[in-house]
Symmetry: C2
Subunit: 254 residues, 2 copies
DNA sequence: CCATCTTTGTGCACGCGTTCACAAAGACAT
DNA sequence: ATGTCTTTGTGAACGCGTGCACAAAGATGG
């Protein structure tokens, strides 16, 4: 069994609660929209509605950043946009590499919202030699062999993994070894990373399964009596082949 | 306020905590992998490691489903796979529609892991007349005009929105009106839905911004040690500080 | 300058989720 | 059967996040 597995750090992020950090981008988006409409100030109530959160929660969130509001008036939109951007580190340029330029990787590369917030696609990397040199979204795909050099040359600290699940850990290891300390993982796998490296995952399959759970519950509640419990048919064991790539654990270590 | 209810209906999900529900797919994935390797039983410790969670948490999660383990031995893999699948509602077929077949929508349609768990892409819908009839991932794209009919004919209750942000709310409204009660939203917008409809969002931009926040913190802390001008030196009270780490639940029904 | 009105900032209580720690349950050997 | 050893299932403590409710701050008008 694994030895000395360090405990989970509990997220002591310099005073700002993790839950708040996760909402800041939400506020920023709403504020940016207001800014584009030249709205000068906004109340916590209005902004909260736009962001889909409780107004008290929003005020408390902002209180962690400092007191940027004016009582009786609200918050200055432009100032708040700047403060949140600065807090999130969006005032600087973040070169990002995407590894695995398949269906998803290509879509990500083409995604406009990527660059809209200081994130710049510095390079696209794929293991397929046939793709090397081919431009995707105007950026030529480079081969995995040069991964380390690419990371180093561009000062990349954020990497996006969009390879098949089987290759994800290996790619992750190389990224980390090359200096990447933040990873966004789209592959359905648990990535093991050393301390100090952040991993966030996006998993479509998990989201759908959670929705299915609630969906089933809704249906069950509606027809509570008509649906007998226990018609245990169709046990979905491992009858057929399982997903070619869609079935491996996935979580965040750290 | 004019906006509809935004409160959380307490989410009394059949006794199973929301946080647990969100982890079930994770366990299921790990268990499926074990099943494929014909592993008969697994201990909470092993499974927890594979899923990247605390073993006590895993045991407590399973305890909500019932007592499926055998003390001194562990859990029967096959049985647990079935129990979790059933709990998540994966023993039945879930027809899903994807609206907005652009870069992302096409990638999603091509995604194999989609169908691997009872989710079936029943239809692809796009507003672009030029796309109508064109097959994507072997499925002909249909026009938005027929959205309501498609939903009804296929008994779709889960919809995926991959349209531009500006069209998301409108598409959402139509989906809901047509009978969809679960939505997975990829567009960077807050969707307003009536009570009883679940919305989960996947937002690449937000994930990157959260990573950037921690990345900036790491860089700042590093510099603080080399830079003598640091204002606050004793950030950590008494030790025990573990790495930063960062992961936020992301569980949030609507 | 004072009164009133609006909205912030936050103290406080509560509930959920996490983790520890351990008694009990059962397998397995003797 | 009895003892030992492994592992579950869970009681209890704790910490985080959420939301209420309100005093204080400041704008606005007279
Ligand atoms: N397509 C989706 O909508 C979707 C949704 C959720 C998750 N995912 C996951 O994202 C990943 C990619 O999905 P996809 O549909 O783009 O698959 P894909 O097969 O189209 O693309 C995978 C790409 O990764 C490349 N690759 C393989 N091994 C590599 C390696 N070691 N280093 C670098 N590149 C490598 C391949 O050459 C290929 O171009 C998969 O893990 C999938 O499960 C995809
Ligand atoms: N591409 C990515 O990697 C990525 C990542 C994160 C989020 N997103 C978001 O996902 C959404 C789609 O991204 P994309 O890159 O695929 O964009 P895209 O422009 O390539 O595709 C959008 C598609 O939606 C269709 N559409 C527009 N209005 C519609 C309507 N009212 N009804 C039905 N279909 C409609 C368009 O015809 C087009 O085919 C955007 O909101 C984007 O912000 C994309």
């Amino acid at each position: 069994m694994a030895t000395g597995r360090t405990h989970r750090p509990a997220t002591r992020s310099r005073g700002i609660p993790e839950a708040t950090v996760a909402r800041l981008p939400l506020y920023l988006r709403a504020l940016t929209a207001l800014s584009e409409r030249s709205v000068p100030t906004v109340s916590s109530e209005e902004l909260a509605a736009a962001a889909g959160v409780n107004s008290a929660k929003l005020r408390k969130d902002f209180s962690y950043l400092g007191s940027y509001g004016t009582r009786g008036v609200g918050y200055d939109v432009e100032y708040l946009v700047y403060q949140i951007s600065r807090e999130l580190g969006l005032t600087q340029d973040w070169p990002v590499v995407i590894v695995g330029i398949g269906n998803l990787g290509a879509a990500l590369a083409n995604y406009g919202g990527f660059a809209s917030r200081g994130f710049r696609v510095a390079a696209l990397i794929d293991a397929d030699p046939a793709m090397a040199g081919k431009p995707v979204a105007g950026i030529p795909v480079q081969h995995t062999d040069d991964l380390e050099k690419i990371i180093e040359d561009n000062g990349v600290s954020i990497g996006v993994i969009a390879t098949p699940a089987g290759a994800a850990q290996q790619v992750c290891d190389r990224l980390v070894a090359a200096g990447v300390t933040s990873i966004l993982n789209f592959a359905p796998t648990v990535l093991n990373v050393p301390e100090g490296v952040d991993v966030r995952k996006v998993d479509l399959s998990i989201e759908l399964q959670i929705l299915a759970f609630h969906e089933q519950r809704k249906a069950g509640e509606e027809a509570a009596s008509t649906d007998g419990t226990g018609p245990v048919t169709a046990v979905r064991g491992e009858s057929g082949d399982k997903g070619p790539d869609g079935d491996v654990p996935a979580v965040m270590p750290a």
